[in-house]
């Protein structure tokens, strides 16, 4: 193994080393650039040869554990395959060369794509209007809650200080409510995974600004009482917020707008095939019903039957404002547009049908192989929960050990220890893009690891054995953040 295998590119840097290596290289003369605009200090960049650079990044790329190389059933994250066409078509020169300051008249192609994406998202979610501008799911959540706040404020209804959040919610929900100045009240879940309706009725009232709900919930079940919940909250004057995290399960089947939700955000990286992780860039469009329309973030795209144009503060004076430069991450939105166009109406339904079929198939296999399920009597949505509490207690091998051992067998682990309500849990989400053989292979390996845990628990607890690193020190990583390279 050559040196540099675990070095940063900066640590490989040698002063004066340049890309062309042996090729004669002359530094170009700087002419015509005023003295005042010339950089005085050198840019801190790694100085490496072209070959070194290629090797470095090729090595790094080989360490990736990704959907392009492995099954990645990370629950709540919808790690599905993104068709390559979404990427290649969005990189067409006409899209890439468009300048965000170009006038409407020169951006009709791009604007038409964005308008159609707004329309398709409206159609599939049952909302009355969509704004694409939030630059990530978290920002979409913030925008949604900010609109709820703006709505109550516009009516001088300032008694509403509380937002209700079920205890099964993603952690971002209470965080969003607090960021928008609300106090969070937690609603318990019953033993079947539904919201405890009686408990909800106890705490809802004139102080309720709204309820944030993910449906299907993080417990991998569909909230069956959604209409009753919507009734209770609306009757008290509160609004219903839909967290689009699990939209993949219901795409084209049930619409949040029809369930009674007033506002929703969508994670395009989950359901609509845009880049996942690594900081995105993200996109978290928001959709609203009639009464929240005036508050949508700008810009949006309008169409008069002839011409596409931007909708700004001028047309929407009550808007909560702008959330990002221009209209969010334009290239990412294009990928979602292309994905939606590729699928069409029929394809969207297939997404939810196959993602739930795959999850329910794995759930049935899990039962067959003797694993305990968090909700054995419920049908899974696009994901389901295995609890390894029994194995942890009887064999001393816990969920984290299973998760690490899965890596050795070439599978990314499902989400571990979330949702918090279920001890020693694995949240498994296969998505619609996996085939039966992969699902079978995964469950075979789960059974195999359980056998290993019986035969040699210490071995499983030492996993992984095949990865570039073994067990990481989670505690130290959380307490001593060390993320930025600094020159000596």
């Amino acid at each position: 193994m050559s040196s540099g295998i675990n070095m940063l590119i900066f640590e490989q840097s040698r002063k004066g080393r340049t890309n062309p290596s042996q090729a004669p290289f002359e530094r170009p003369e700087l002419t015509g650039i005023p003295e005042s605009l010339q950089r005085k200090k050198r840019v801190v960049m790694a100085e490496t040869s072209e070959m070194q650079t290629v090797r470095h990044y090729t090595r790094l790329s080989k360490k990736n554990f990704s959907i392009d190389t492995h099954f990645y059933p990370l629950g709540s994250c919808t790690m599905k395959y993104n068709p390559r066409a979404c990427n290649s078509l969005s990189m067409l020169p006409g899209f890439l060369s468009r300048h965000p300051y170009a006038p409407d008249s020169m951006s009709q192609g791009y604007l038409s794509c964005m308008y159609e994406l707004q329309e398709m998202l409206k159609d599939v979610t049952g909302m009355k209007e969509v704004s694409l501008t939030p630059a990530a799911g978290a920002q979409g959540e913030f925008a949604g809650m900010a609109m709820i706040r703006a709505y109550h404020d516009s009516r001088n209804d300032d008694q509403r200080t509380e937002v209700l959040v079920p205890d099964a919610a993603h952690g971002t929900n209470p965080a969003t409510a607090v960021m928008c100045g609300y106090k969070v009240r937690e609603i318990p879940t019953n033993d079947q995974g539904d919201v405890d309706l009686e408990a909800l009725k106890q705490v809802v009232g004139p102080q309720t600004a709204g309820l944030m709900l993910t449906n299907p919930s993080t417990l991998g079940v569909f909230e069956r009482q959604i209409e009753a919940i919507a009734g209770v909250v609306h009757e008290a004057g509160g609004l219903l917020y839909y967290d689009g995290a699990n939209l993949n399960a219901i795409l084209g089947k049930v619409r949040p707008g029809d369930m009674g939700f007033d506002v929703i955000h969508m994670n395009l990286h989950k359901t609509f095939s845009t880049p996942h992780g690594g900081g995105g860039p993200g996109a978290g469009p928001v959709g609203v019903n009639e009464r929240l329309k005036p508050f949508l973030p700008v810009p949006m795209v309008a169409y008069d039957g002839d011409h596409y144009s931007w909708v700004t503060e001028k047309e929407n004076p009550q808007t909560i404002g702008r959330l990002s430069g221009f209209m969010g991450n334009a290239g990412v939105l294009l990928r979602a547009y292309i994905y939606a166009r590729l699928l069409g109406r029929e394809g969207m339904v297939r997404v939810s049908e196959y993602s739930t079929l795959n999850a329910n198939y794995m759930l049935a296999l899990s039962k067959q192989k003797g694993f305990d399920l968090a909700f054995p009597d419920r049908r899974a949505t696009h994901e389901f929960i295995i609890t390894l509490k029994r194995q942890a207690k009887d064999l001393g091998v816990n969920t984290m050990d299973f998760a690490k051992r899965l890596l050795d067998y070439g599978f990314h682990a499902p989400t571990t220890y979330f949702p918090l309500l279920i001890p020693e849990c694995l949240l498994v989400e296969p998505t619609e893009t996996e085939d039966k053989e992969t699902l079978d292979a995964f469950m075979d390996v789960m059974a195999k690891i359980e056998q290993e845990a019986r035969d040699d628990p210490e071995y499983v607890k030492g996993a992984p054995y095949t990865q570039p690193v073994r067990r990481l020190d989670d505690v130290r990583a959380a307490r001593e953040l060390d993320l930025v390279w600094k020159s000596e």
């Binding site: 509490k389 220890y417 918090l420 001890p423 989670d474 505690v475 959380a478 307490r479």
Partner: protein
């Protein structure tokens, strides 16, 4: 089975309470609770002199798995917080009933103590949650 000292009182949300002669109580989380939460990375203790209500969230423990609120088992005034936890949150894991204590509260109403469980009842509570 984790340790459940006989001389302490317990809340349903897994806090322990040590009753002192001076009208204060010492509060921490049980060994069972720290076991569920996992390795601690951060503990936020309440401010001294703040008034708290029973079952009010008054401290936060953050582990590698999750951040969780700690609920006050009694109403009263905070008279001391375990500042050592700021630098050494792992004390909650290594010595939950001793060095890992979280706060001292001056009781507002001794009757709050009657709502708490003894060790036997708490052991049953842990057992019932386990199934």
């Amino acid at each position: 089975m984790s340790e459940i000292p006989g001389e302490l009182k317990y809340s349903k949300s897994h806090e322990w309470v040590q009753i002192e002669d001076d009208g204060t109580v010492l509060v921490g989380i049980t060994e069972h609770a720290q076991d569920l939460l996992g390795d601690m990375v951060y503990v936020e203790v309440p401010e001294v002199d703040s008034e708290i209500e029973v079952e009010e969230a008054c401290a936060v423990v953050e582990s590698v798995k999750a951040a969780s609120d700690i609920y006050s088992p009694v109403s009263g005034t905070i008279t001391a917080s375990n500042e050592a936890l700021t630098d050494s949150p792992e004390l909650v894991n290594s010595d939950p009933f001793g060095e890992g204590w979280i706060m001292r509260i001056k009781l507002a109403d001794r009757a709050d103590l009657d709502q708490l469980m003894d060790a036997t009842a708490y052991a049953e509570h842990v057992e019932s949650e386990d199934h």
